[in-house]
């Protein structure tokens, strides 16, 4: 009999606390599978963000450390510099990456720190109850944009991939989504490439993942998949934004 799917080795056997339809559980699983497949469990170090996925360490069975909100890239820098043999990744939300931690992210990328940043973009602040994120779309309703996000007073959605891509220190930047089986497979491939870039000592990699937050979007899980495809991907186009690694895809 052929095994088609099994519980990933490095995903702890506990139920997720995430809301139904949340993208975090899918992304956690992708990372756990990759750690096994790439055989890096003995040296991988992870940093969860502030936000819903702060509890990532309850699920991923690897060495992990908390970081202050937004400081993931700075903490990752310290870890990698002091222990270069490690594979260091930070798992950050959109607010963590593109609001409070913009400086840390931009400068880690600019120094070409050999780390991998996995950024989960759900266009909203999930844990605190659905406030505006830097990536909230124009006219999108959130609890702090009750009349829709107005560019005049609340600015525009921040596109971190594009910002990071212009820096000479970044080598691999890709935006993916977990809104369909095909895209989930692409997201996994992108994260795999991010880790590989780091293992090859090539420099800074950023993988953004558009991810659903049905509860705060006030949608069903299926509607939120559709909303990512129809609305989010218009503003945040998927695909490789930058790749100067000079190598083929990770597969």
């Amino acid at each position: 009999m052929k095994t088609v799917y099994t519980h990933p080795k490095y995903l702890k056997k506990v139920p997720f606390h995430y809301c139904p339809g949340c993208g975090h559980s899918v992304i956690h699983r992708l990372i756990a599978e990759l750690i096994d497949e790439m055989n890096i469990h003995d040296r991988v170090l992870g940093i969860p963000p502030c936000g819903c996925s702060v509890f990532a360490y309850n699920y991923l069975d690897i060495d992990m450390t908390e970081a202050a909100h937004g400081r993931g890239a700075a903490v990752a820098t310290g870890m990698k510099r002091a222990f270069p043999e490690a594979i260091v990744f930070s798992y950050q939300g959109d607010g963590d990456l593109a609001a409070i931690g913009t400086a840390e992210t931009i400068h880690a990328a600019n120094r070409g720190e050999n780390i991998t940043v996995i950024s989960v973009n759900n266009a909203v602040y999930g844990m605190t109850g659905g406030q505006m994120a830097p990536t909230t779309l124009l006219d999108q309703w959130t609890t702090t944009t009750p009349y829709g996000r107005d560019a005049k007073t609340a600015g525009h959605p921040v596109k971190m991939c594009e910002l990071v891509a212009v820096l000479d220190g970044s080598v691999y930047v890709e935006r993916t989504a977990v809104d369909s089986p095909a895209n989930i497979r692409k997201a996994k491939k992108a994260i795999q490439k991010g880790f590989q870039v780091q293992m090859d000592n090539l420099g800074f990699s950023l993988v953004e993942v558009l991810s659903p937050c049905p509860v705060n979007w006030k949608m069903t899980p299926v509607e939120s998949w559709e909303w990512i495809e129809k609305e989010m991907e218009k503003v945040f186009p998927l695909g490789i934004i930058k790749d100067t690694t000079g190598k083929k895809d990770a597969d």
Binding site: M64, T65, V75
Partner: protein, 351 residues
């Protein structure tokens, strides 16, 4: 050697592997020293970070993986680092932080001051925690205390602060280094190095259960009680027959010592207590001294901060006067001598 560079050299000899800093006067010589001397050492790292916030969080990261790491700044920059210091304390991670204090509040002046005493000794950031605070008063002590700071940080798994000032940092004095830099950089046990052949580890403070956080606080404070018992240090100067005890730390203690020498020359029986750990504070010693005299004069380069610790220690069993100059203005010894003399006669101590 200047004081700031002496800290840098001592840190390297203590096995410091990582320095992360952001320029601010008057501690730039330290950042520059580390750029020139640490960065080129095998396995060591120097980063001029994008901000003090980033620097302290890089220290956090290096400490997570078990390296000896330090950062330095001056007052406004130390305020920014408080976020990271709170996390270091909560995660029970060692780190060394140097504050070459300047006149505040706000941007203030770049001249020497001691206005960050409260911030240093009361934890500084959010939450209920303390950091060990060492207060050197010479270039030699800057070097010695830097070494001690790394050892204490590792021993108690806590951030340790060295509270100096702009004058100590810039001043040149002879200094002797008592250690050679280690061949192999130390890696603390219990660090995150990958879950190879052992269960995975988590470093965290957040919990959805307040009782967990309460237990963390209890555990921290049990350790703090131990530190208070074991690590208090101070220097006394001519206290045996003193009718008036001056309490001062850091550069202020040097100035006071000069004044006391002159006071002694004119027959005034004055002595000095100089705490070299500000937290834990030598409260016991203050009480001991109060058995011989009731008169204390606290001299600080601020509006009166350490005086509260002296008063707390005395529990009303002594009379405490204060003299201070804030904002970066530094008294000369004769100014302090005038204060000592006036107080001495006001209190009738010559009889």
């Amino acid at each position: 050697m200047d004081g700031n560079s002496a800290i840098g050299e001592a840190a390297i000899r203590a096995g410091c592997q990582c320095y992360f800093g952001y320029p601010i006067t008057p501690q730039n010589e330290l950042t520059e020293y580390m750029a020139a001397h640490l960065g080129k050492r095998k396995g060591c790292t120097f980063i001029q970070a994008e901000s003090e916030l980033a620097a302290i969080n890089m220290v956090f990261g290096a400490s997570v993986v078990g390296a000896r790491a330090m950062t330095s700044s001056s007052s406004p920059g130390i305020s920014l680092k408080q976020e990271g210091i709170s996390y270091l304390a909560a995660c029970e991670l060692p780190a060394v932080i140097v504050n070459m204090c300047r006149g505040g509040p706000g941007l203030g002046s770049i001249a020497a001051a001691q206005s960050d005493y409260f911030q240093a000794t009361r934890g500084g950031g959010h939450g209920d925690y303390r950091t060990i605070v060492l207060a050197p008063s010479s270039v030699q002590e800057l070097a010695d205390f830097t070494h001690r700071a790394f050892d204490l940080a590792d021993k108690y798994h806590t951030p340790v602060l060295i509270l100096g000032d702009g004058m100590l940092g810039q001043m040149m004095e002879p200094v002797e280094f008592k250690h050679e830099a280690p061949e192999v950089l130390p890696v603390r046990s219990g660090a995150l190095r990958g879950a190879k052949g052992r269960p995975s580890r988590i470093i965290k403070t957040l919990s959805s259960n307040p009782a967990d956080v309460e237990e963390l606080n209890w555990s921290l404070f049990r350790r703090y009680e131990l530190i208070k018992k074991e690590e208090v240090t101070y220097e006394t100067f001519m206290v045996d027959d003193a009718k008036l005890i001056v309490v001062a730390f850091g550069i202020a203690a040097r100035i006071a010592k000069g004044a006391i020498k002159n006071a002694r020359a004119s027959g005034l029986q004055v002595g000095m207590l100089r705490p070299t750990t500000l937290w834990p504070f030598p409260s016991q010693k203050v009480r001991e001294l109060a058995q011989n005299t009731k008169q204390f004069l606290v001299f600080e380069l601020n509006m009166g901060q350490m005086i509260e610790d002296v008063q707390l220690a005395l529990e009303g069993k002594g009379e405490v006067s204060f003299y201070g100059r804030p904002g970066g203005v530094v008294s000369a010894p004769n100014e302090v001598l005038r204060v000592i003399t006036r107080l001495y006669y006001q209190k009738g101590l010559e009889k």
